[in-house]
């Protein structure tokens, strides 16, 4: 639109910086937290890690296109909830939104807590010489539960501070975290396998009380655990079978996308694609570089074996405790390459910023969905209440925190095999994404007027709308993931029909959402408010 004929009016803002969108998306597919955490668990696959990273990124790029397109057609609308409600109906929109953006985040809390102890608490305490505290956090159920509680406290503080402050914490964390990652990569690329082995022996024993011979013992335990995942290569099918685990890390470049503001034209669609797309590409590239650096100095086989040794014991498959008594965190292992304590501390502190800049996301999206549901009268008004003094959404926060404490307890003490549910955290959100993707596929056909008057109306491939094409590709990818997770024909992911705990947990989420939706709908109807009508389109003529 030429600015010649645009007047000054409220809300007519310029496009946001692609760099800012890039930072937010890059933190959402967080290489250090989500990435390293999942890589370490993926020790038993036959497909190459690098191949899987690249192939999955190619498919996830279509997710970026789908979400950027939906933002262009229906900006500032509240994201998945509104898109699905308007295109697929209120029940689908509500159930998929509250399960994917609220309930399942309860399960993410102990996962965030687990990453918090391994990436923040244990390395910093270890480097500072607080061996007993580090080992307590690293290796005990009480330590795991306490880490989750601290996580809840930190995240609640972020909510209290508000988005404006947290966005600045994220920006600072981005630059600090990137500096830390650069130092780690330099340490790894300038080190050697011999110096690493010596550094590991020296530091693992002094910091964490490991027995001498920790390297060889780890190799043995990892080999016994079946650690085989190659750095690269593998057959087509083997590579594809790695991806359902890998997407725990990289399925989220769209996480902040629903916040993106007024879209004034096709340029803004391209900017959205660029912000999220470059974050996906750069994160994938950084992952390959980091894994290559690990391969050069730590040794790929040792890295995979250390992950196998840790998780094989943690998951209860082996009674043999890992020789390295802390999670094999590559940044900490890189810090072992130097004897300079100050540099070691700098590395682990800077790298901890990857967690702090990312962790607030666990509740920020959830509180938005809770508010939206309350405004639609599908939850009591009180859940959207703000504290008069601080503006904190106290009740919404409680609706996140209280169930999260329960789930964190179940997870930390592995009650009902809760620790096997890790990938449920991804599955339930993938179902929500699938709902949105289906909405995107049908949008040009079910809402033609809305689509034709949007900034993406002219983007077609062979006469078919780009949003439909991208949706079909990404939707197909999601269906593949869901099949592998739920049916799990090769017994690789530990959830789905072979894990009754996971089925009960996930079904419980959907049943609870359905009860809330239909229960409140009936209640409102008894009070004279027909929620079907208030969400129905008013006739124009």
């Amino acid at each position: 639109m030429s600015d010649l004929f645009v007047r000054k009016a409220t809300g007519l803002v310029r496009s946001w910086s692609v760099m800012d969108a890039f930072v937010y998306a890059l933190f959402s597919i967080n290489l250090i937290t989500l990435g390293l955490y999942s890589f370490s668990q993926m020790y038993y696959f036959e497909g190459g890690m690098v191949n899987a990273l690249i192939v999955s990124a190619l498919f996830i790029f279509f997710e970026v296109v789908v979400y950027a397109a939906l933002i262009s057609v229906m900006p500032r609308s509240g994201g998945d909830y509104v898109w699905q409600s308007r295109i697929l109906g209120g029940a689908v929109g509500f159930i998929l939104a509250v399960t994917g953006w609220w309930f399942i985040l309860w399960l993410w809390v102990p996962l965030y807590g687990d990453m918090f102890r391994h990436i923040v608490l244990v390395p910093i305490l270890g480097v500072l010489g607080a061996k007993d505290a580090a080992l307590w956090f690293a290796g005990t159920q009480n330590g795991a539960f306490t880490a989750s509680i601290i996580t809840l406290i930190i995240v609640s503080i972020f909510i209290t501070l508000g988005m404006k402050t947290y966005a600045r914490i994220q920006k600072f964390s981005f630059y600090g975290g990137m500096l830390g990652l650069l130092i780690v990569i330099v340490l790894l690329l300038t080190g050697s396998p011999a110096t690493f082995k010596a550094g590991l022996e020296a530091n693992a024993t002094s910091m964490f009380g490991a027995a001498p011979g920790v390297y060889d013992a780890t190799v043995t335990l990892g080999t016994n655990a079946g650690a085989i995942t190659p750095f690269s290569g593998g057959s087509f099918s083997a590579v594809f079978l790695v991806i359902p685990y890998l997407v725990f890390f990289n399925l989220w470049p769209n996480w902040g996308a629903t916040l993106y503001g007024e879209v004034r034209g096709a340029t803004d669609f391209k900017r959205n694609v660029a912000g999220m797309g470059w974050a996906l590409a750069v994160t994938t590239l950084l992952a390959v570089i980091l894994l290559f650096a690990i391969k050069q100095t730590i040794g790929w086989e040792f890295y995979v074996q250390a992950g196998g040794a840790w998780w094989n014991y943690a998951w209860g498959f082996s009674p043999d405790a890992p020789a390295l008594p802390v999670w094999p965190y590559p940044a900490l292992l890189a810090a072992f390459l130097t004897t300079n304590k100050a540099l070691q501390l700098l590395v682990v502190v800077l790298m901890s910023l990857w967690w702090f800049g990312w962790s607030g996301t666990v509740f920020l999206s959830s509180t938005r969905v809770i508010f939206a549901a309350a405004f639609d009268r599908l939850l009591p008004e009180a859940v959207a209440k703000l504290d008069e003094r601080t503006g904190t959404p106290i009740n919404a926060l409680l609706m996140m925190v209280v169930p999260s404490v329960v789930v964190a307890y179940l997870f930390a003490y592995n009650i009902a095999s809760f620790q096997t549910l890790t990938l449920c955290s991804t599955l339930v959100i993938a179902v929500t994404f699938l709902g949105t993707t289906i909405a995107a596929i049908v949008l040009p056909y079910t809402k033609p007027d809305l689509y034709k008057a949007s900034p993406i109306a002219k983007y077609n491939v062979a006469g078919i709308p780009l949003i439909t094409i991208a949706g079909l590709i990404f939707g197909g990818f999601l269906v593949f993931l869901l099949y592998q997770w739920i049916i799990d024909p090769n017994a690789l992911y530990g959830i789905g029909i072979k894990n009754t705990s996971s089925i009960y947990y996930m079904l419980g989420n959907y049943v609870l959402a359905a009860i809330i939706y239909f229960g409140f709908k009936a209640y409102r109807k008894s009070k004279g408010i027909d929620l079907n009508k208030v969400q129905a389109e008013i006739p124009v003529e």
Partner: protein, 313 residues
């Protein structure tokens, strides 16, 4: 009991206006209130290319119309987003680029033309229904809009007035806002807003049962969260940094008077409800570009809000 329907910030969208006119019957409301900002934000030139061919640039995409049918379709697309079509030719466009005053005049003429059409449509549709629309133009609406509304039979201009909405509830109305980065038509400093509000609240006979139909939301009500902008009006941190931009004078007035209900708009992404003391404040938000009429149905009891719900029509 009185059931009112409130919508706001329709910004020139024909679809939203038509839906608003039908909303009373659709939702069973007996009072209709339109918040401010009824005028659109852009004119789209339809540039004659010779013969029956026209070219437009809509949302940075070029569309061509080669016949009457395609031209009608493009008109519809432009109007559905609240923009104003303007038939022109390359020579006039070249001239207008050198003459911003003439552009402003064209803009105003197009805006007023549509407001007049809307008033005519409202008078036609509401005739015989016993229904009126209470309207107070917002900060984005030019002053010239008021005279056209005044001439309407069923759309009542209530800016700055205290009106008796029903037997129990009075309503004060204003479309004026606190300062914005866009220097719009009806904005002023907070101390001036305070005077404006006091001029109305001082006339209320039963303030606790009153309705504040005020375009701008109260400060820090969660209905006024907008993306923080830099000096170039660019959202900082990809729109993730939100800040309250509502009126502090209005908040003070609500805290002091404690009316029954506040009806607000202005911040399109601020859809929601909030309580300030005993006052229920509502901002239904706006999705006018998508032809979706966001609104609120409120059922007023004698001394309380019996129930309410936000609508997506």
């Amino acid at each position: 009991m009185t059931t009112l329907f409130f919508a706001t910030d329709v910004h020139g969208s024909d679809i939203c206006w038509s839906k608003f006119l039908n909303a009373g019957k659709f939702y069973g409301a007996d009072r209709m209130i339109l918040g401010g900002d009824m005028t659109g934000k852009a004119v789209i030139p339809f540039v004659h290319q010779g013969g029956s061919n026209y070219r437009i640039t809509l949302l940075e995409q070029v569309f061509d119309a080669a016949n009457e049918e395609e031209l009608t379709d493009l008109f519809k697309r432009v109007r559905s987003r609240g923009y104003y079509p303007y038939m022109t030719n390359p020579d006039e466009i070249a001239e207008l680029e050198k003459n911003p005053d003439r552009v402003s005049a064209i803009f105003l003429a197009e805006v007023l033309k549509v407001v007049k059409q809307w008033m005519d449509l409202a008078d036609k549709k509401l005739e015989g229904t016993g229904m009126n629309i209470y309207c107070s133009p917002g900060n984005d609406d030019m002053d010239e809009v008021d005279d056209i509304i005044r001439a309407s039979k069923h759309v009542l201009l209530v800016e700055g007035q205290v009106i008796q909405l029903d037997d129990h509830h009075e309503m004060i109305s204003s479309g004026w806002s606190n300062r914005t980065p866009w220097d719009t038509h009806r904005e002023e400093d907070e101390d001036q807003l305070k005077v404006r509000y006091e001029a109305m609240t001082s006339q209320l006979k039963n303030p606790h049962n009153a309705i504040f139909n005020i375009h701008v939301p109260p400060h820090k009500s969660n209905l006024d969260e907008a993306p923080e902008l830099d000096k170039n009006l660019r959202p900082v941190l990809a729109g993730n940094s939100m800040k309250p931009v509502g009126s502090t004078a209005l908040r003070q007035s609500i805290e002091k008077v404690q009316p029954l209900l506040g009806l607000h708009g202005h911040i399109h992404e601020g859809r929601g409800t909030s309580r300030i003391g005993k006052t229920l404040c509502i901002n239904p938000g706006s999705m006018y570009e998508q032809g979706t009429l966001l609104g609120a149905i409120v059922r007023l009891g004698k001394n309380k809000v019996e129930d309410y719900v936000l609508t997506t029509g």
